[in-house]
């Protein structure tokens, strides 16, 4: 017969187990949430690495990606009727979304940023233009499509796997897996392909590039296409996870992803992932143990402290000035 003395540690152990499981559950959520941040942060980091431009419209490109996913999938499902298997709809939506969103990013570059660059305008003007393009994207969307919320049709039949009290949906796994895949893919692109190496070269010396026989504009277009395509992929996955779309969904997420990119060390692909996951981890943990209104407060404060202690971010290299 257990005495009171024995019972207390047992209860504690049980409590600890629950906490541990809850912690792991939150970690899984953080990995999913961090994947979104990472996918957006990549676009910021790629463009910054090449042009030293903070592309403030990028968060809204992510939003546009989610809307494109909505239109494409709705069109596919309604045009083909019920005989199209669900997996096929998803398989068609992914490339269509990625391609269309990269087109949006490249279009922005062509009509808004490139003319300014050609004129040799101050970097600040390009940043303002980017900020304004973002406003146009989100408000234009609201003005054209109205305030009615759009909901993405279900593209993936939900499956829930449970391990103990930890539940994981196939969608979560898909998101995390995709983020990892994108990471591997990008690392391969920048270290193995000619264009990828050219991207890295531009960030070192813009004027050396034509000597390598690659036009600068091509590298820039490639960078924007890559970044926007990944943001579009992120938008699609985000819309699948949280199916209600909103024109301003990209703004806040975008700002945060940008800060994540900076914390990771802007211009570095590993940094975008590290920063994204770190930010998501902080946010999820704060939301799990404190009122959710504190989430932004903690997230931004912790990031500021990291920047203060390590201004170049986790993977950043300090810039040197020559005189």
């Amino acid at each position: 017969m257990p005495t009171d003395k024995d019972r207390v540690p047992a209860a504690r152990l049980l409590f600890r187990c629950l906490c541990m499981e809850q912690f792991i559950q939150q970690c899984v959520n953080a990995l999913q949430w961090g994947s979104f941040y990472a996918l957006i942060a990549l676009g910021y980091t790629l463009v910054y690495g090449v042009l030293l431009l903070i592309n403030f419209a990028h968060g809204d490109v992510f939003m546009v990606g989610a809307y494109i996913a909505f239109f494409v999938s709705t069109f596919l499902l309604s045009a083909s009727g019920p005989e199209l298997p669900q997996g096929a709809a998803l398989a068609l939506t992914i490339p269509a979304t990625v391609i269309l969103t990269s087109t949006v990013g490249v279009t922005l570059e062509r009509i808004a940023y490139r003319p300014l660059r050609r004129k040799g305008a101050h970097r600040l003007y390009v940043v303002i233009t980017a900020l304004m393009c973002g406003l146009i994207l989100e408000n234009g969307n609201l003005a054209l499509l109205g305030a009615g919320r759009k909901a993405l049709p279900e593209l993936l039949e939900k499956q829930i796997y449970t391990f103990g009290s930890i539940t994981v949906t196939n969608l979560k796994l898909l998101v995390i897996f995709t983020a990892l895949l994108v990471f591997v893919f990008l690392q391969a692109v920048v270290t193995r392909t000619r264009l990828g190496m050219a991207m890295r070269a531009v960030s070192w010396d813009k004027f050396a590039l034509p000597l390598m026989g690659i036009p600068l504009d091509m590298v820039i277009v490639f960078t924007f296409a890559l970044g926007s395509g990944i943001a579009g992929l992120g938008g699609l996955l985000f819309a699948m996870s949280y199916p209600v779309l909103d024109p301003y969904m990209g703004a806040m997420t975008g700002w945060k992803a940008f800060i994540a990119a900076v914390v990771g060390g802007i211009g570095d692909i590993r940094g975008a992932f590290a920063g994204g996951f770190l930010l998501a981890f902080v946010e999820i943990m704060v939301a799990a143990f404190l009122p959710s209104t504190f989430r932004d407060l903690f997230a931004f404060s912790i990031l500021l402290i990291i920047l203060w202690k390590r201004p170049t971010g986790i993977f950043g290299i300090p810039a040197t000035t020559k005189i």
């Binding site: 903070i54 600040l124 390009v126 504190f294």
Partner: protein, 358 residues
């Protein structure tokens, strides 16, 4: 005499406005627009010190406006309104007109202090970091205020309305208009004196070649921090006025969109041009208010001509498509802004003999 022509003209204009408002010739809407014009002038010309003269990029300046607005409102509520949070008012309401300038100054200083906290880590590092840190600061400030339930949290705060009413009870004058005009004049004088002094020219030197500035003896870190503090202090003053003109304050009114408005005004007017930014603030306020009427008119017109599908309405949100578009076009074709780094007197040298600023 001639040299003071502009000053006299402005004085007459200001007196005329106050008298007209006093006589009730201006309806409430016009009066409010005029006051917001003044507030925008203070906010934008303060921001111009950092984003224009110094060439840095403060992206979340509305956060300091928020600090000023809340400090001022709380002070004013504690002094004259009282309430659950403060108990009985500390001062009789008759003193409200006397103490309002002190409230303005105190909240300006408080906002400047926040500016210092933001500036200290930002200027240690690379240029872009100011943009990031100010954005984060803007979010943090709003988030903190929304989490303090005692001052209304996300519902906003009302207490300062009583101070405004107390002033109207003391004397029947258009008090808020008066304060806005006085603040605009004082803030612009202060800025002008700062940027024309040898110490203040260090700000432009930092912008044009920071290394040369440091090596020629300019304490660049101090210059940057001072400029940023003055700039955020002015944003704070604009915030107090905003809160008292509205009679209500809500943290979300000072989000990134408000910061963006400030940026639009600075870059519309021309970075580093005081007269340019003042003109831009006026033009911007008029544009926003003009679009308020123009958009429904356009909607009716297009529907009248059957150019639009019947169920599609052009809503007010188009305003926020048109304004960024204007700025994008400006950046493409006249990136230096309306006046671009020059003052009106430099563009029209003939103006010089009419103008004397001290």
């Amino acid at each position: 005499m001639q040299r003071h022509a502009l000053n006299i003209l402005m004085l007459i204009g200001a007196a005329g406005l106050v008298l007209a408002a006093h006589a009730g010739l201006l309806d409430n809407y016009v009066l409010t627009v005029l006051m917001f014009m003044g507030i925008n002038i203070i906010f934008a010309s303060g921001l111009n010190l950092v984003n224009g003269y110094m060439g840095e990029f403060s992206c979340g300046h509305a956060g300091f406006m928020c600090v000023g607005a809340y400090t001022g409102s709380l002070l004013s509520a504690a002094l004259f309104a009282g309430g659950k949070l403060f108990g009985a008012p500390l001062l009789p309401p008759e003193l409200a007109p006397l103490f309002f300038p002190l409230i303005l100054i105190a909240s300006g200083l408080c906002a400047a202090l926040f500016g210092l906290i933001v500036a200290l880590p930002s200027f240690h590092t690379r240029g872009d970091y100011l943009a990031i840190i100010t954005i984060a600061a803007n979010y943090i400030i709003i988030s903190v205020i929304e989490n303090i339930d005692a001052i209304g949290g996300p519902r906003g705060f009302f207490g300062m309305k009583k101070t405004v009413n107390a002033m109207y009870n003391v004397a029947d004058l258009p008090w808020m208009l008066l304060w806005v005009i006085i603040s605009v004049v004082l803030c612009l004088t202060l800025l002008y004196r700062l940027v024309t002094s040898t110490g203040g020219k260090g700000i432009a030197a930092v912008c044009q070649n920071e290394i040369a500035a440091e090596i020629m003896g300019v304490d660049t870190n101090r210059v940057k921090i001072t400029a940023f503090m003055v700039s955020s202090g002015l944003a704070g003053v604009a915030g107090v006025l905003y809160a008292h003109v509205y009679g209500y304050v809500n943290a979300q009114a000072f989000n990134i969109l408000k910061s963006t408005e400030g940026l639009v005004m600075v870059y519309l007017g021309g970075m580093g041009s005081m007269s340019g930014v003042v003109l831009a603030a006026v033009a911007f306020t008029l544009l926003v208010e003009g679009l308020r009427f123009a958009v429904p008119a356009l909607n009716d017109l297009l529907h009248g001509l059957n150019l639009l599908p019947g169920d599609f309405e052009i809503s007010q949100i188009w305003k926020w498509v048109i304004i960024p578009l204007i700025l994008i076009l400006l950046m493409q074709f006249r990136p230096e802004g309306l006046l671009g780094n020059r003052e009106l007197t430099q563009i029209f040298p003939k103006l010089k003999k009419w103008v004397s600023f001290k």
